[in-house]
Point group: D2
Chain length 300, copies 4
Amino acid sequence: MLEHIAFIGLGNMGGPMAANLAKAGFKVSAFDLSPAAQERARAAGCSIAKTPAEAAIGADAVISMLPNGDICESLYISNGLLAALRPGTLVIDSSTVSPATSRRLATAAGKHQLRFIDAPVSGGVAAAAAGKLAFMCGGDADTVEAARPLLAAMGANIFRAGDHGSGSVAKICNNMLLAVHMIGTAEALALGVQNGMDPKVLSEIMLKSSGCNWSLEKYNPFPGVMEGVPASRGYQGGFMVNLMLKDLGLALEAAHSTGASTPMGSLANSLYALFRQQEADGGNLDFSGIQKLFYKPSAG
Amino acid sequence: MLEHIAFIGLGNMGGPMAANLAKAGFKVSAFDLSPAAQERARAAGCSIAKTPAEAAIGADAVISMLPNGDICESLYISNGLLAALRPGTLVIDSSTVSPATSRRLATAAGKHQLRFIDAPVSGGVAAAAAGKLAFMCGGDADTVEAARPLLAAMGANIFRAGDHGSGSVAKICNNMLLAVHMIGTAEALALGVQNGMDPKVLSEIMLKSSGCNWSLEKYNPFPGVMEGVPASRGYQGGFMVNLMLKDLGLALEAAHSTGASTPMGSLANSLYALFRQQEADGGNLDFSGIQKLFYKPSAG
Amino acid sequence: MLEHIAFIGLGNMGGPMAANLAKAGFKVSAFDLSPAAQERARAAGCSIAKTPAEAAIGADAVISMLPNGDICESLYISNGLLAALRPGTLVIDSSTVSPATSRRLATAAGKHQLRFIDAPVSGGVAAAAAGKLAFMCGGDADTVEAARPLLAAMGANIFRAGDHGSGSVAKICNNMLLAVHMIGTAEALALGVQNGMDPKVLSEIMLKSSGCNWSLEKYNPFPGVMEGVPASRGYQGGFMVNLMLKDLGLALEAAHSTGASTPMGSLANSLYALFRQQEADGGNLDFSGIQKLFYKPSAG
Amino acid sequence: MLEHIAFIGLGNMGGPMAANLAKAGFKVSAFDLSPAAQERARAAGCSIAKTPAEAAIGADAVISMLPNGDICESLYISNGLLAALRPGTLVIDSSTVSPATSRRLATAAGKHQLRFIDAPVSGGVAAAAAGKLAFMCGGDADTVEAARPLLAAMGANIFRAGDHGSGSVAKICNNMLLAVHMIGTAEALALGVQNGMDPKVLSEIMLKSSGCNWSLEKYNPFPGVMEGVPASRGYQGGFMVNLMLKDLGLALEAAHSTGASTPMGSLANSLYALFRQQEADGGNLDFSGIQKLFYKPSAG
């Protein structure tokens, strides 16, 4: 029975995820260093712990949503959190980390008779708030099933990607592909416009043709084509370039360590890094802002 | 009234297009140099002309489906076909050519009081046979409307992309984007597999996530994931690498002439050219065969 | 005997080349549309012709230095200049054009019993003024020898690259490689600086190591490292980005038409095009200005 | 006074380096796990230690030449070698590692009052044997000076790159640039040959023009152009693709961690990874073998 849940990391994603767990009736003991994040979690019905250990010891499940793999490994391994948990505890790491980190966490968890899955998410802040995240889970099928009630309280799609680490693999493959078709879409729209086309008309045609992709359909990067997307509000909000670069870094690290060649993914990474250098505050813009590398309205 | 139609160029695409016109009740006078193509057209109900001029002079509309822009310009301009047509004749060029070629044809047609549209297609040989092509039309709205009964006999979607040349622009932008997400998809699948994932599971996850795109959904390049696509039959059939390279050449030419920067499109072009050199008979394989650059089953 | 020389095209390169011929004692009849260019040529000892034909008819040799291949083909072929020359006249085209253009000119010249070589140059405006250009000649060995006295008056190195067109091939291969190592050098210097190194020290080390290349040795793109180069004067003067893009366009056209794959050259082209869009007046900056894509002093 | 030297890591590079130290009169206590490497070192006049600690404790200087940064950090930090050394001992790490690793080693050495420099080398196995390596040193100037007698026994050029980590920065910047101009050279030569040129003639012209670079001058990748280089012996020997990929991985890691954009370097990395997958035993071929991606003699 999963009743007492520890939630560690209450940022833009973790905060609403913990809130949705509390809303679904779980007893959530939450930890974050930020007083503001603590306050929001308290208001959402979580109790606030002073340390990760206070939150986690004795819990039925521990969920973490942390900024990177070093912090995860430090929390769980170097600082001994895994060693302090009751055997059988379910540990779900939803942080976006390298497959290697996920596998090291899984191995360490196994030594302490814990049940572990890596379960990174896709969908962004809006999906986190709405409880509509997708979870990409790595671990044995039984453990993924055991985690399902918790994941279902936070998300709409729960995929088992494979063994430990596969959740992280699926996440970084997906986001690398996303970066590639976002830039490809931005290039194609700029090419069309520079050759005299209306970006709306071109978008409509490609949506019904073989150029169709998620960036074009849900997240058109050209200003003025689609309402309600970052391109229509100066690329504010959304999925920041800094986060895309973090994910691309994980993808390229996984490629390097397994000998895979990813020329398009690598170029996408270089173009995002270049964009961040060229554009004031570029790292904090939405990743569809890459459109500005290829087309500047004033230069039209 | 469009009754007598000249159709010039009866290859893999033009042949079934002419046949569908005949089937729809138009009187089609067709021309091609190949006796086999002539024979097929005759069997489909077309009459066969000995020269393009014999087919076209006196026709209500002329449709061409030729291998490249040089041949189009030679036929219509240098060899004087436009000059020989009756003023008011509708001229539809469905060949995939550069926007510059389309505009030169339009200008030349205008001088002879002809009505011209560029109307390249997407959908491939299967769609041509089934009368399900998409037409991307460049020209004034009245002329596109005038052409609609003919296009509707051959296709399912008729888009007006904009003024003369815009049909060609839309076609090459779309196909450049297609090349980019096909290679991105192939890279992502290979990266996943080299990190231990099942390509089917990874495909299913990305289909429901932000990595989704036409290549993944309709044309999965990884062998064994999807039935009925070239990847499941050794990359035979489909849309040849040679044709993709032709279209990418047109896209890069349009980028060069308008100062557009297309790093992902250019890299896609280089990778297809490299694939053609590395792989025996690579130019005649389907364009999803690019998967082999990134993953060799035997090397798995 | 080469005595009367027609020189067509008196721009930044052609002007000083014609002047050097006059200085060496040749009787130079020069043509250009620009009155200012005419005036400079007159001052340098050339006589000024009102038309290319007036300059060229009866000359022992015709030299052209024109902006692009279309203008060359128009002058020599469509406008009939080749047809108007005396059989045996030596025709030297020093314009940077595609190998295909060079071969068409050679073929047309041959039909009129003229002796033709393509002889594009390297070295830039300074070398043109100093008579220190390098000529890359395509044509039969006898004709290259026949041209040597003229070329020697304008240049310091005369290479026979091979048959007709080979001069143009050598030129575009060289400049593509130049673009690649210039950008590679800019990237390496920026990477070093962003990791704490002094660009001068890093340049000195790489000059004596395997990273050494012409851009690093003669034309360091990082501001403040080398005196007397464009990087030390805000990238003014030198070899303009617009011209590099023209040459890269010719290289990629030659690659496309022969099926060659040039991923690094294509990426260099995309990055220069991107630079031209990002940077105010970027097309008129020296090509070493690409450094600014990778490192902005203010951002340091 | 530097008299007793510990040398740890006696591979293809470390073996001859230790031998040159012994030859120069230093008392070298050497360690390696491989019995064959031990035997060669003994024959060259070194004494063989059973553990790194046995070699290093009490030595005046410790030099390491190890396969990667993890092994270095494990040896010096986790396994406590630094803690066991006498204060004031000179520690020279010549392994190619990330700047971050070099800085962590320097910091750890500082805590134990040791003098540390990172001093990776360039020049390869032949230069190691001949005592002609170049050392790129990171550390304070006094320590670099103190190390000079040792380095001079193994190398011909000793550069101080800057503070701790700068030796590693210089090494990876240089090798990234080397990869870029090697591939650029291979592309340019293939483009020329596919357009009808003799690769020898094209090489000669570019050597005297702005395309000149170390790969073209010392290490021509096209078979049959230059004697005594890997291209003339089936790309056997030399600097292996696997090692170039290791160095490119370090460069891209340094770029990622400092936000630098290296599109050409990243593409070079992708192309080498692709080459290793396409070519049987490609990882063990010399890095100039990348020529085979662009030109296959049999396909000529």
